[in-house]
Symmetry: C3
């Protein structure tokens, strides 16, 4: 990411790149490949996906995700995270801030399907070795904002 780009508006090319990055990233989470998901963050990345569960570092993210998914032990589910309405803004040092809407669809045997809580997600994205990575992600559930 050049200095020039970081000080100007976000290009359409960057916009599509971020969409694609998110699609790959969340597929890893939905497939429960936690180390690969954590590798989409910087080594010291911050991740706060549900109240009281803020962690940092890739190792911390992996541990948190293992802990979080224990709720599904004995409760087979398929989860699908959907993102939409991504707003990108340049941030200092060539970073990008992203904010967008999200929910997870949770599917259980027999066809029970729940469209999970509507969330607002705020990311800081940076580029390392040519790849986008999350320096941080903070998820806010709309139902908890009242």
């Amino acid at each position: 990411m050049t200095t020039t780009e970081s000080t100007t508006e976000v290009t359409a090319e960057r916009y599509a790149e971020v969409q694609h990055f998110y699609a790959r990233q969340m597929r890893l989470l939905d497939d429960r490949d936690f180390p690969a998901f954590a590798a989409t963050f910087t080594e010291d990345g911050e991740f706060s996906h549900t109240p009281g569960h803020a962690v940092s570092t890739r190792a911390g993210i992996v541990a948190e995700l293992h802990e979080f998914h224990r709720r599904f032990d004995g409760d087979p589910v398929v989860r699908r995270h959907w993102f939409d309405m991504i707003v990108l803004d340049p941030a200092p040092g060539g970073a990008l801030t992203a904010s967008f809407y999200a929910y997870a669809i949770t599917v259980r045997p027999g066809g029970d399907q729940v469209v999970g809580p509507s969330c607002l997600v705020r990311d800081v994205l940076v580029r390392e070795a040519g790849q986008l990575r999350n320096r941080s992600r903070h998820v806010t559930q709309d139902r908890l904002t009242f």
Copy 2:
């Protein structure tokens, strides 16, 4: 938007630009910043978002949105508009017609969440001072089309 572009197919660059424009635009609406939302329309813009509520001009859009949101007085909600499956076509004079699917997720305290009526939205987009703007938006609720 050059004359050449307006007479050829819509570029991928334009497609991403429109997605980003919509994400910023609807965040303004969901944040209830009605003047800023209205400023994403041309000064004489047309806005018809619900049956019997067609208005025009930015001032008219702001007034309509204040009126519409009175239904939420004493009923705290978070609303999140999602758009998907955007189809763009060039229109005369460098304009674009856009049509796409939309719904609003409405969240209330305690976690009650409703995925609002499925809609088809038809926009005419123009460029003013380098920025995309809505010359018009017409929203049709699918449930009212039978």
Copy 3:
């Protein structure tokens, strides 16, 4: 699609093009223009959209869609297919593999609205005469994967 591109990563331009292609393609299906939908596949295209309903060739796709939609005879519905979180990868010979999340919203008179089964879709896309086309589409309903 040049040989160079097919052997490197998917560009942002290609990503937006695929999104737009899907938006046009599924509008045709939702509008029940089955021949036009089938024409977004290659002549020998494969289409498996629901268990036990794998067909091939454009004529086969049209026949299958007529058969499938008979369930809606006497049951007026509007259907809206939503796609999200598209992952693209280059495939041999300039093709692309795409996988993404999908559901259909089904709306009936009176406002009954169902967000249909969460699906994972796997496509192979090729370019013919400058246009993207599906060589194949395989849809898996998450509820049937347990």
